[in-house]
């Protein structure tokens, strides 16, 4: 079966390449846009108690929504294809990043922030020099969770014409052709593991030396 799957890839290189490319593009863009929105939002909202709570509650609701439901809802509203898929995936990627950014900032020791303020740092300096470096590991943990979720969600984009490796899986299931199914399932699993590994490594590397477990 694996040999058949490999044979399929070799005989359909452009088809596979395109699907892989679209999948990576969807995932990367959704993650990037979500990060560009959620991280600044989280930073602004974190120290305002009422807003922070509202944001966290909204994010929690967002996290419970079944991915396929969100993607499917994009179809009657936005149609099919890349853009609607990207929109839905971006929405799915937002909650973990937002929650973790807020948690990261709130997790900075109050005494450390007090000392920084007492020493004459402006609010911006405190954010840049103290809060963000300390919150970085947690923010990246959120990015990691989101990345895995987005790669998984992008598989489902096949159902609304978004392309990606999910196309092989759905085709394989529809035609009961196991090799084709594997052509989708195995690479996307590897992609997901790679994303997890990548962000895990980034999380470790970007943890300030003073904060690493001794």
């Amino acid at each position: 079966m694996l040999a058949d799957a490999w044979h399929y890839i070799v005989t359909h290189p452009t088809q596979f390449g395109t699907a892989l490319g679209v999948h990576v593009a969807l995932s990367a863009c959704a993650l990037a846009i979500a990060a560009l929105v959620a991280i600044p939002l989280g930073l602004v909202v974190a120290r305002r108690a009422g807003w922070a709570l509202a944001a966290i509650n909204a994010a929690n609701v967002g996290r419970t929504l079944p991915s396929l439901a969100v993607l499917a809802l994009a179809m009657p509203i936005l149609g099919t294809g890349f853009a609607p898929s990207l929109t839905a995936l971006t929405l799915l990627a937002l909650p973990p990043i937002l929650t973790n950014t807020i948690a990261g900032i709130l997790g900075v020791d109050r005494d450390v922030v007090d000392a920084a303020r007492g020493m004459g740092m402006t609010a911006g300096e405190i954010l840049r020099r103290v809060e963000m470096p300390i919150a970085t590991p947690i923010v990246f943990a959120g990015l990691r969770t989101s990345a895995v979720q987005v790669v998984s969600g992008a598989v489902l984009a096949a159902f609304i014409g978004g392309g990606g490796l999910g196309d092989f899986i759905t085709a394989g299931i529809a035609m009961m052709a196991v090799p084709q199914l594997l052509v989708g399932a195995i690479p996307v699993t590897l992609l997901s593991l790679a994303a997890d590994y990548l962000f895990g490594t980034l999380e470790r590397r970007l943890t300030p030396l003073g904060l690493r477990a001794a």
């Binding site: 020791d109 005494d111 450390v112 922030v113 007090d114 000392a115 920084a116 303020r117 007492g118 020493m119 004459g120 740092m121 402006t122 300096e125 020099r129 103290v130 470096p133 300390i134 300030p208 030396l209 003073g210 904060l211 001794a214």
Partner: protein, 319 residues
């Protein structure tokens, strides 16, 4: 150096004022200790000096400048700030921690590096070994040493210290108090020091401000407060052992007689305080002690009578 006039602050959901028309003058080079029971307003007062809390009314003038008219950020960069939990930045090395305010002020790198090394030496740590270490590697006492070094970094004329040694065990606390007093003797700083520990106040303070419910109850030297507490509250606050506390402010060498001691007398160091000397005599069940110097040479004698006379409150009050 610091002039506080009619300072008041009331918090939103509080029953009474946190600070109530407080007025006091702190001279340059003095250590003013703010002390009182929980909720007396000592920390609030201190935090109004660098505008971490904004006053409702009254004025605070530091070095001739009214603090409410100065940019708070600039103000705080010119005042040293040490808190009980230290608040060292865990993600920065010790050197980077100490260098924080100089960096904010734009000093050049060479000047900062030298200053960091000087300060590390001054707080009895090893620049070569310690500058690139991280806060998590330090003990509580070492952390607070760095906290003090960090506050001294930009050489501010005024320092605010909020129970800086409160989180340490008694032995470390005592040694840090001594070290800090020693450092201060070499520098010219005005310190506002908050504590709830009367022994620490007596040890550290040039003058002690006893506060209660936001008001100033007594503001005087330790000796004066111990000899003449202003009211029953102060008397209770300083403790019923204030006679002994007063003795702890006096040194053997100032009260020793030049007579030779009898054989078999217990020894006391001439640098010891009278309270500890009294303790030595009582445990040895002796009337006379031999006063010795650090090298062990005999310098004179000290008798129980001398101690009693020195600590005699009635005599003090008559004077």
């Amino acid at each position: 150096m610091i002039s506080i006039t009619g300072l008041s602050k009331r918090f939103a959901d509080a029953a009474g004022p946190a600070v109530d028309a407080l007025s006091l003058e702190i001279g340059a080079g003095e250590i003013c200790v703010l002390i009182g029971p929980s909720g007396c307003g000592k920390t609030t007062t201190m935090r109004m000096i660098n505008r971490m809390i904004e006053p409702d009314s009254g004025s605070i003038v530091v070095g001739g400048r009214d603090v409410t008219r100065v940019d708070p950020i600039e103000l705080r960069r010119s005042i040293g700030y040490v808190i009980q939990q230290v608040g060292l930045f865990p993600h920065m090395t010790i050197a980077e921690n100490i260098a924080t305010v100089p960096q904010l002020l734009g000093w050049d790198r060479a000047r900062i590096a030298k200053r960091v090394d000087d300060l590390l030496t001054r707080v009895h740590m090893d620049p070569a070994r310690d500058r690139s270490r991280y806060p998590r590697e330090l003990s509580g006492g070492q952390k607070q040493r760095i906290g003090v070094a960090r506050a001294l970094a930009a050489d501010p004329p005024v320092m605010l210290m909020d129970e800086p040694f409160g989180a340490l065990d008694p032995i470390t606390r005592a040694s840090l108090q001594d070290e800090f007093l020693r450092i201060l003797r070499e520098l010219d700083k005005t310190i506002v020091f908050v504590t709830h520990d009367i022994d620490e106040a007596i040890r550290m303070g040039t003058r002690i401000a006893i506060m209660r419910a936001g008001r100033l109850v007594q503001y005087d030297t330790p000796e004066a407060i111990l000899a003449r507490p202003a009211d029953p509250f102060v008397e209770a606050f300083v403790g019923s052992d204030r006679a002994l506390k007063r003795l702890s402010l006096l040194v053997v060498s100032d009260h020793a007689a030049k007579d030779p001691p009898p054989g078999g007398a217990p020894t006391v160091l001439q640098s010891l305080n009278l309270r500890d000397a009294l303790s030595t005599l009582l445990s040895a069940d002796a009337e006379v002690a031999a006063v010795v110097d650090a090298g062990g040479a005999i310098r004179g004698t000290l008798t129980l009578d001398t101690i009693r006379a020195a600590g005699d409150l009635k005599t003090e009050e008559r004077r």
